[in-house]
């Protein structure tokens, strides 16, 4: 199966490891992975801030980048969620609407792709530890991916998954929200950090780098010892 | 004129919707899903009574079940439990049928005040209801799911009876029990379609009045009755 990696700009610049893990996981389960270099950012930072015109420039670039891909898979519920919104954004656009639909239909978040498309819940990870999982809002509510990440985690023998209290609550990231309404965002992330602490987990796992930067950044600031990791890092653990 | 400013108002709405005024010919579509009809669809009437009884615990309502022969006795006990010295009741034809009339005469003989709603007495009815200990009415339609009695208030069954006294007793003939509000609403809708005017006040009453306005703490009994009993009669 041919899969084009959608790295997401955050992982491209800030989290090379997540990209590496994603490639290795996909290859391990038998996919032929390529990385279309023309890809940039999904457009969400501008789109969600109301700069729709500007965001469309980014989106068009993404449609060009993945035009010939069979599947597009990325390590982010939020960014893939944005790709899925393209048909709505380009509705009525004679040039781009069909392209938008084509991209939306072949795009998947990594865990969603593994579980729902490939039917795989065991990726051979040997990770050990007490983890709690934060289901990011866009992963669950925009993309509708609720069970796949947990299914994968639960299938790792050494993983003890502890339920995060009020897990469905937003961590306060919200893209530009974290900067524009920093005071509110701070309250939200402090509460999330508190909930993570309550679990006693050693690792906080999530599927969206933005949220993990937010929660991890707050917990580091508070001097907490919990390690914040992207789910790919757990799934690709091979020691 | 009893309807003012309608034309400009509604024309403006149609304009904003980008089409001509719709005055006739609008039909409700058949909704794609109708889950309201599935609720308790296959339950027997006895099973519905069980549901009602369980729901009464949720709504802080005492539940009794009896037959016509014992109703007088059960009702008397509930009134005594409420320390009911004065009682206001609807002037319902079922009072006679279910033996309430007999009970009322006996209670009066025993020195209790019993006032049966009498529209000729006008506002005096309300004055009495306001100081009555107990209000009694029959339920016209009873909703098992929510534990609700439905009253079609009219000249015989004033709104105040189930509202002003501190306690309220609803007599529920078994045959008035339906699954949920769906069946009651359909009944009203159908009657309306057939040209029968709906009552000036339809009261759906579910237990005693309550409020959670102070720190989300439930207070049972705010403006309406503080205690409520339902008596289901087989």
């Amino acid at each position: 199966m041919n899969v084009s990696l959608f790295i997401t700009c955050l992982c491209d610049i800030f989290s090379t490891n997540v990209g590496k893990d994603t490639v290795e996981i996909l290859e391990r389960v038998g996919c032929e992975v390529d990385f279309p270099e023309l890809q940039t950012c999904c457009g969400q930072p501008a789109y969600n801030s109301g700069y729709v015109k500007e965001s469309k420039e980014a989106m068009k670039q993404m449609m060009r980048a993945f035009k010939h891909s069979e599947y597009v898979v990325g390590p982010s519920g939020s960014c893939v969620g944005m790709l899925r919104e393209y048909p709505e954004v380009f509705k009525g656009d004679v040039v781009w609407e069909e392209e938008a639909k084509a991209l939306a239909e072949k795009s998947y978040e990594l865990t969603q792709f593994l579980v729902d498309v490939l039917g795989i819940v065991d990726v051979g990870s040997t990770f050990k530890g007490k983890v709690t999982y934060h289901p990011s809002c866009h992963m669950t509510r925009i993309l509708g991916v609720k069970d796949a990440p947990k299914a994968l985690l639960n299938n790792i023998e050494g993983v003890k998954l502890i339920e995060l209290p009020v897990a469905e609550d937003c961590c306060g990231f919200g893209g530009t929200f974290a900067v524009k309404n920093a005071a509110i965002s701070e309250q939200m992330v402090s509460e999330k950090s508190q909930h993570v602490s309550e679990t006693g987990a050693e690792y906080l796992v999530g599927g969206d780098m933005g949220c993990l930067f937010n929660i991890g950044g707050r917990m580091a600031r508070e001097g907490k010892q919990v390690e914040v990791v992207h789910i790919t890092e757990i799934l690709n653990y091979q020691k | 004129m009893t309807v003012l400013n309608r034309e400009t108002f509604l024309t403006n709405l149609a304009d904003n919707l980008g089409r001509p005024r719709r005055i006739t010919g609008v039909e409700r579509p058949t909704w794609s899903v109708q889950p309201q009809w599935d609720v308790y669809q296959h339950l027997s009437s006895d099973e519905l009574i069980d549901i009602l009884e369980k729901q009464c615990q949720v709504i802080h309502t005492d539940f009794k079940r009896t037959d016509r022969a014992s109703l007088e006795q059960v009702l008397r006990k509930v009134i005594e439990g409420y320390n009911g010295q004065s009682i206001v009741a609807a002037n319902d034809p079922r009072n006679k049928e279910f033996g309430l009339q007999v009970l009322f005469s006996r209670l009066m003989e025993e020195g209790k005040e019993v006032h049966v709603w009498d529209s000729k007495l006008e506002k005096d009815n309300i004055t009495f209801a306001e100081r009555a200990d107990v209000g009694i009415t029959f339920s016209d339609i009873t909703l098992a799911e929510s534990g609700t009695v439905t009253l079609f208030n009219n000249r015989y069954n004033g709104r105040s009876i189930s509202l002003l006294p501190k306690t309220y007793i609803a007599i529920i003939p078994k045959e008035t029990i339906v699954q949920r509000m769906t069946q009651a609403a359909k009944q009203i809708h159908d009657a309306n379609q057939q040209g029968n005017d709906v009552a000036s006040c339809v009261s759906f009453i579910t237990g005693p009045s309550n409020s959670a306005d102070i720190e989300m703490n439930l207070i049972v009994g705010v403006h309406g009755p503080i205690q409520v009993t339902y008596i289901v009669v087989d």
């Binding site: 990209g19 | 309201q36 009261s203």
Partner: protein, 475 residues
């Protein structure tokens, strides 16, 4: 008058909310309860999504044909002896009601809880013509005595604790008992009962009007709406024009959705449907009935991409689900309609000028959309608002606009983008220590004030991938 409350700027209101510890604890625990109760009520039905679909279909059909159904409603009310007044504006509604007050020479008015009368500032208008107005919903009464606006559309005094309430009762009404909710509630019952019995006019809002028969339906737990409609000889009901359903069958569905979503109850204690005046020989109920149907900016929403916002049934489940509301409270929104629906509706009803911050007071987490029993796409509407603020109203910060223009260039040019993946790390080097930025420049500052930010990786992913490919080829 408008939906606006308070004059403080948005940031100040937010800060005020964040610093109000009691309010935040109260809101947080209330949200917890509301959510679990609603969850239980929805789960119990087993097919909640079908119910939501049905709710959406009914609301959508009604709004698409609102002129038809309002005509039918007003005809039916009129047939049943009621007078109907269509008011384009808050002023028209208030003036009409003032006339009724004066005509009846009414001294005392009892009101049941109604958001729409808050919206038009009716109490103020009533006092202008010398009438005494008493709010009879317990929460509203507390707020009225304390001259404080509501902070939640279902439990308006959520931000107050029992100690504050006791103090208010003591100062304003001579209360001298404990601060237990039961005693406070009983006191309110005794005090307000006198008002009910003496009132000349009762004023209510309207949860749903039924077009087919002219019935106005009120959904309460306390029973105050029943007293307001049973005892005074004149009743005035004010309804937002969208608060209607075609038939009783639709009413039933909407009420089921409302009570479950609002408070997790199968039905509230009282669902009361009043049709016109009392009939001949009836003793209680109004002999004169006025229905005021209000536009006040709603018609502007019809036919726009925001039309579904008019589907709102005021259950507050979006408010109860919203993490932003939890931390800042209702007053921070500066509108009588707070939370996500408030952030959507307020700019539509009252313009962007005073409310341009509201659409941004959301992390777009979508909890509101998920909670809405009639499927209003609330968070998507917030994005639409942002788009209008940027593209039409042009109310953006200059620096932000410049940044977004730069973004568009960056994200549409693979070369520029690739360059940035190389220079990101060196350009942040000045602020980086131990792979972490703790005091970032420019827009990053808002972030790093309370959180660390990671430094860019030593090597970008694409650089790593390129090397890996080369390695593979040379092997």
């Amino acid at each position: 008058m408008s939906v606006r409350i308070g004059n403080a700027p948005f940031d100040e209101r937010v800060q005020h909310g964040i610093e109000n510890d009691f309010m935040r604890k109260a809101v947080s625990s209330a949200q917890g309860r509301f959510r679990s109760q609603k969850q239980a009520a929805a789960t119990e039905l087993g097919n909640w999504e079908d119910w939501r679909t049905l709710g959406e279909e009914i609301r959508s059909h009604t709004l698409e044909n609102i002129d038809y159904y309002l005509q039918q409603l007003s005809d039916e009310v009129s047939k049943r002896g009621g007078k109907v007044f269509f008011a384009q504006t808050a002023e028209e509604a208030n003036t009409y009601i003032q006339h009724v007050i004066q005509e009846k020479d009414a001294k005392k008015i009892v009101k049941s809880k109604s958001m729409v009368t808050e919206e038009i500032g009716l109490n103020h208008a009533l006092e202008e013509v010398g009438a005494e107005v008493v709010e009879t919903d317990l929460g509203e009464w507390i707020l009225q005595l304390d001259e404080d606006p509501p902070s939640h559309i279902v439990t308006p005094a959520l931000h107050k604790d029992r100690g504050q309430i006791r103090k208010t009762f003591a100062e304003k009404k001579g209360y001298d008992k404990s601060d237990t909710p039961e005693e406070l509630g009983l006191f309110a019952r005794e005090q307000l009962r006198k008002d009910f019995l003496r009132a000349d006019i009762g004023i209510t809002g309207c949860n749903f009007a039924v077009a087919e028969s002219g019935a106005v339906t009120l959904v309460t737990n306390e029973g105050n709406a029943r007293l307001v409609t049973a005892l005074p000889d004149t009743q005035i009901t004010v309804m937002g024009m969208e608060r209607l359903v075609p038939t009783w069958e639709d009413l039933e569905v909407m009420v089921s959705l409302l009570t479950r979503s609002a408070v997790g109850q199968k039905l509230t204690s009282y669902v009361t449907s009043i049709t016109g005046t009392r009939l001949e020989d009836e003793v209680d109920g109004p002999e004169e009935f006025h229905l005021v149907i209000l536009d006040n900016g709603r018609s502007k929403i019809l036919g726009t991409e925001f039309q579904a916002a008019l589907h709102c049934i005021r259950c507050a489940s979006c408010i109860n689900a919203c993490p932003v509301y939890r931390h800042i409270g209702g007053h921070a929104y500066g509108s009588i309609y707070p939370g996500p629906i408030g952030a959507v509706l307020t700019p539509l009803l009252d313009g962007y000028d005073e409310h341009k911050e509201l659409p941004y007071a959301s992390s777009l987490c979508g909890a509101c959309t998920e909670a809405c029993p009639v499927k209003i796409p609330l968070h998507e509407m917030l994005i639409r608002h942002r788009q209008i603020i940027v593209e039409k109203e042009k109310k953006y910060p200059v620096a932000e606009k410049a940044m977004m223009k730069g973004y568009a260039k960056w994200a549409s040019s693979p070369a520029a983008y690739k360059l940035s993946t190389k220079v990101a790390r060196p350009s942040l080097k000045l602020w980086t220590k131990d792979e972490t930025i703790t005091n970032g420049p420019g827009p990053l500052k808002g972030w790093t004030n309370s959180r660390h930010f990671p430094a860019p990786s030593k090597k970008s992913f694409r650089a790593w991938y390129k090397e890996r490919e080369k390695g593979a080829k040379s092997e």
